[in-house]
């Protein structure tokens, strides 16, 4: 269990993080969203015990990051946004070095396991500098995993990766969540985050504007359902009928034969509404909900201001 309590960080009088609080449970994959300079990296670095919070704190399974940072470091795996590897060593030597620092027992076995998990087994004896960017990202993730951490802090893990490497990384992160680890991922690639994160937080100028599971965060910005109706019969009649419905908040004509309708209520109301249109003799070619996504939420909640 990770509990972040009113975390503040000020640099020379300038507030970079202003009272962030949230909590995550094992298996949670938390997408941390924000513009550049919003405070994501500062928050992650505080959780990684690299920066001391100005005030507030966080606890991981009851251990406070301020009171016992060494204990915390044993429980976290941190992957920075920009990182370098020791390029003069081989893949297994790199992992062995960090495994020895973390005091891992049976290092050979553990290294083989994390290499298999990150699909780098074939590169075990290659020099680190010979790896592609995507492989280096995976190696960095493997390094984070050698000591079996409970919390993974991944700062922009997908930056600079090609689509295939991104897909592989996404699958790997989802697998880590299934293994019961708490994963915090910061990213700009919002559609991808919504694919594998079960909760998200949106940060701007050091303030957490929204936090929760993806569906609830999306609902928070759009309580109504937005439905797009493609009708091949008389659109005027349909518009009149739709406007008379108590469930419709707003109806707007889009193009020659389409309506964009804001509906109140849940899924049942949506189904009833479709049935009433068909029963009214209207020929509906297409009826689909225009679902809000994280990008809409992000654009609606944030102003683009940065620290």
């Amino acid at each position: 269990m990770l509990e972040v309590k009113n975390l503040h960080k000020t640099f020379g009088g300038f507030p970079a993080v202003q009272g962030i609080s949230f909590s995550l449970k094992p298996g949670d994959i938390f997408g941390f969203i924000g513009s550049n300079g919003a405070g994501k990296t500062t928050t992650i670095r505080m959780l990684a015990t690299l920066l001391e919070p100005t005030s507030g704190t966080a606890t991981l399974y009851g251990t406070d990051i301020l009171d016992n940072p060494m204990q915390i470091r044993r429980m976290i795996g941190y992957m920075p946004d920009f990182f370098g590897l020791y390029d003069d060593v081989k893949v297994w030597e790199y992992l062995d070095f960090f495994a020895s620092i973390y005091g891992v027992q049976k290092r050979d076995k553990v290294i083989d396991e994390v290499l298999e998990l990150t699909d780098l087994g074939i590169k075990k004896h290659s020099f680190v500098q010979s790896l592609s960017r995507g492989m280096q990202q995976r190696l960095c993730l493997a390094r984070c995993l050698v000591h079996d951490p409970k919390l993974l802090l991944l700062d922009e893990p997908a930056s600079g990766l090609d689509p295939r490497a991104r897909a592989e990384l996404k699958e790997l992160i989802a697998e880590l969540g299934r293994m019961g680890k708490i994963v915090i991922v910061s990213s700009h690639i919002l559609p991808e985050l919504s694919d594998f994160c079960n909760c998200v937080g949106i940060i701007e100028r050091g303030n957490l504007l929204a936090f929760g599971d993806v569906a609830s965060v999306v609902r928070s910005i759009r309580p109504t359902k937005l439905v797009r109706v493609h009708c091949i019969s008389d659109l005027q009649n349909l518009t009149t009928m739709v406007n008379q419905s108590s469930k419709v908040q707003k109806c707007e004509k889009v193009g020659d034969d389409e309506l964009l309708i804001e509906l109140l209520g849940g899924d049942d109301d949506q189904a009833d509404f479709l049935k009433s249109m068909v029963d009214g003799g209207h020929r509906i070619l297409n009826f689909n909900e225009d679902q809000a996504n994280l990008e809409d939420v992000f654009l609606k909640l944030t102003t683009g201001a940065v620290n």
Binding site: F11, P80, I101
Partner: protein
């Protein structure tokens, strides 16, 4: 942010996970199977030079003052240590691998001692190889006293230790490896060229004892002359009025270098604290406005 888990020697030496640096240093600089062409080429050149040096020592065995050969090793150290170690911390910062160490469950002192021991073990290995032809020469040298050779060897290693500590400190205090290299060479120049010149010109005030204690070259020179055959040498006669025990001077020098090494390492450990706060978002001008 420091947790001590036992006696200092366990925390810093016997149970220090950063001792893995010893292996890393050896693989990086003392192995020809590494990935770096530059380092492999450098090792190749050094091996050729070493072979030549060994041949000269064996051919002229008994004719070359073995202790003076150790002066050659000090000169090599003055060049090699800053060259090899300037990036040990600043280089990690530059290539962004430093954060990985900082989030590991180890103290700053463990990091510094680990890096120091890695370099010192490498130095010891190089010195051991260097000493093979020197010892062959010493065995045949009629005036050699092995106590003097032993003391000279410890003097060289003590000097090497303080040089490593100094380079680590500079590497910890600056952000860019090239700056660290320039500063290290500058400090070496000041300490081994300018300071001896100043001290030698002021030796009438400071005395021969202090001047000698400060300089490893003078210590080696004194040890070379510390044989019955050199009793009537010009240098010994000239300093007759200020004669002192060479063994004592050497031990004082070793003690001085050891204390200097410990102080520099402690300073480097304290210096690492600023790396915790190295993320700076606000330029100085803006900072002033906010203040």
């Amino acid at each position: 942010m420091k947790v001590r888990q036992g006696p200092w020697w366990e925390v810093l030496i016997t149970k220090n996970p950063m001792m893995a640096e010893v292996t890393r240093f050896r693989k990086r600089f003392l192995s020809i199977r590494g990935s770096s062409v530059a380092i492999n080429g450098g090792i190749g050149i050094v091996l050729v030079l070493y072979a030549l040096f060994a041949m000269v020592c064996v051919y002229y065995r008994g004719d070359i003052e073995p202790i003076m050969l150790l002066g050659l090793f000090i000169i090599l150290m003055l060049l090699a240590i800053p060259l090899l170690l300037h990036g040990s911390i600043s280089g990690e910062r530059e290539r962004r691998s430093w954060d990985m160490l900082m989030v590991a469950p180890i103290t700053h002192a463990q990091i510094i001692v680990g890096k120091f021991m890695g370099a010192f073990a490498g130095l010891g290995m190089a010195f051991g190889l260097f000493m093979i032809p020197v010892m062959i020469d010493a065995a045949f040298h009629s005036e050699s006293q092995f106590v003097n050779v032993l003391l000279a060897s410890i003097t060289v290693m003590a000097q090497g230790a303080s040089l490593i500590a100094m380079t680590l400190l500079i590497s910890a205090r600056v952000k860019r490896p090239l700056v660290a290299l320039a500063v290290s060479i500058g400090v070496v120049m000041i300490y081994f060229v300018i300071v001896p010149m100043v001290m030698s010109s002021a030796s009438f005030l400071l005395g021969q004892f202090l001047t000698t204690v400060m300089s490893p070259f003078l210590v080696l020179f004194r040890l070379t002359l510390n044989t019955p055959a050199h009793e009537n040498d010009y240098y010994m006669v000239r300093n007759e009025g200020q004669s002192f025990d060479v063994i004592l001077v050497t031990l004082c020098h070793i003690g001085y270098q050891t204390i200097l090494t410990i102080c520099l390492l402690m300073w480097a450990t304290k210096t690492l604290v600023f790396a915790d706060h190295e993320v700076k978002f606000i330029p100085k001008k803006k900072k002033k406005n906010h203040a």
